[in-house]
């Protein structure tokens, strides 16, 4: 099996409310999969299911050739191979930027402090955050915090990165910094699944775009196709609303 991540017939409900219904998704190494769709369409829930933060109600999730939706699977081992970044950054306010980043490498992956910090400084430098290593997260701007969160997710060298609307809480001018960081990750072949409202970004960076509507992947394909000649009427309507008069 060449796919890094394979989802089949995934179903997730909260009580009577079905949030994900019969979702299929394949992610190969190096893919950048963008999930688009209106709020409440199931994008975030799908990401949380992939990271095993939610128990699923049916279907199969396979990661690196193993079924991870099996209840006997060690969730921590799976999460050690995935990175996740949240909309609200979720940095730990009582730790410095450096300690935020080195926490998992040291406590979960058994790196020495020196090795973990070397890698952290390396990544911080790459994302233009070198001088903030000793600061506490609340001293930083939203864009900087989100880039720190990105570095924190990258530090354990995950095979897959999950990004949950990571620019949704940012000022427009800060969005650019964070998206540039993600763009450079994509360019070097990082495998990612990301939920986003940034359509131009999705069009530039994605290898596959999935349009979610009421818990289903209504249509998916390369961005060129989805954004220029969507098959479904609903996709067309959605894009018409989020891409006003862009001529796309």
């Amino acid at each position: 099996m060449s796919a890094l991540l394979e989802v089949e017939n995934l179903r997730k409900s909260y009580g009577d409310r079905v949030v994900l219904d019969d979702v299929d998704l394949t992610v190969a190494t190096g893919d950048v999969v963008c999930l688009i769709g209106s709020s409440g369409s199931g994008k975030s829930t799908l990401l949380r299911c992939l990271n095993l933060l939610e128990d699923i109600d049916d279907g199969v999730i396979s990661f690196e050739g193993h079924e991870v939706s099996d209840p006997r699977v060690d969730r921590r081992a799976v999460r050690g191979r995935m990175g996740m970044v949240f909309q609200a950054y979720n940095l730990f306010p009582h730790l410095s930027v450096l300690d935020n980043i080195t926490l998992a490498p040291r406590k979960v992956h058994g790196l020495s402090r020196a090795d973990a910090e070397a890698r952290a400084h390396d990544l911080l430098g790459r994302f233009g955050l070198a001088e903030h290593a000793r600061s506490h997260p609340d001293r930083l701007s939203g864009g900087q915090q989100q880039r720190v969160a990105l570095v924190r997710a990258l530090a354990p060298r995950p095979a897959l990165l999950l990004l949950d609307e990571i620019t949704a809480a940012l000022d427009p001018e800060l969005v650019v910094d964070v998206l540039d960081a993600v763009r450079s990750l994509a360019a070097e072949g990082t495998t990612m699944v990301l939920a986003t409202h940034e359509m131009h970004f999705a069009r530039d960076v994605a290898s596959t775009v999935c349009f979610l509507e009421q818990g289903r992947i209504l249509e998916h394909g390369p961005p060129a196709q989805i954004f220029t000649e969507p098959r479904e009427e609903r996709t067309r309507q959605f894009l018409g609303r989020v891409l006003p008069s862009s001529g796309a």
Binding site: D16, V18, D21, L53, D57, D58, D70, P71, R72
Partner: protein, 282 residues
Amino acid sequence: MTDWQPSPRELERRQVRGSLRTRSLLVATVAMVLVFGLLVVGTVSSPGWATVQETFFNADDARESFPAILEGFWLNVKMFLIAEPLILALALAVALARQARAAWLLPARLLAVLYTDLFRGIPTILLVVLFAFGMPALGLQGVPLDPFFWALVALVLSYGAYVAEVFRAGIESIHPSQVASAEALGLSRSQAMRHVVVPQAVRRVVPPLLNDFVSLQKDTALVSSVAIFDAMFAARDYAAYNFNYTSLVVVACFFVAMTVPLARLTDWLQRRYAERERAGVR
């Protein structure tokens, strides 16, 4: 609603989850039996167990001392029920005084600091003795002579100082942005405190508050040291006359029986707040 049927895979998975649950239930049961079994066996098989059982766990003595202890315990309960609301009011007032920023309230602020420093520093039993014996001895006109009254005052003042610090910690834990947004709506500082900060702070400090109240329930037993006939006094009385300490175990059971329901109530309250205010967030 839909025609969805769980797939065979999902059914198998449910079975696995079920057996995992059964297994952890089994582990828990074995661990419980093992730990408590060892505790009981270890105690009962000790060389002096027969004597201990006779002097501390004698059913006849328990039955005989029970009525007097029950009667005394009513006094502990009464004391607790009167003291608790007074402590809450005093403590909140002191905590707010320490937060006050208005210039003319500076004396109140200083008094509040002085009060907490002093009354938290003095052992509660000393306060009880000082107030219950000292105050009536002043012989002042209009000062009550009842030691019950003065023991109550001592408990309120002592615990008021502790609880004030709990409230202050709660108030300071509310993010300044809450005050900012309240003031942005045009609320005055005291209105912001009253409607925005204090309600959130109180919710946050319920567990440590309960902790202090459990402690207060037990410390009502301190009044036995100033010849007030509470449950502790009755139990000690019985023990001294009969050379048997079973009455002390009985009084311990009374206090435990009083504190446990309060603990469960607080757990329940906390859960309800959490469910209402943090739905869906993990």
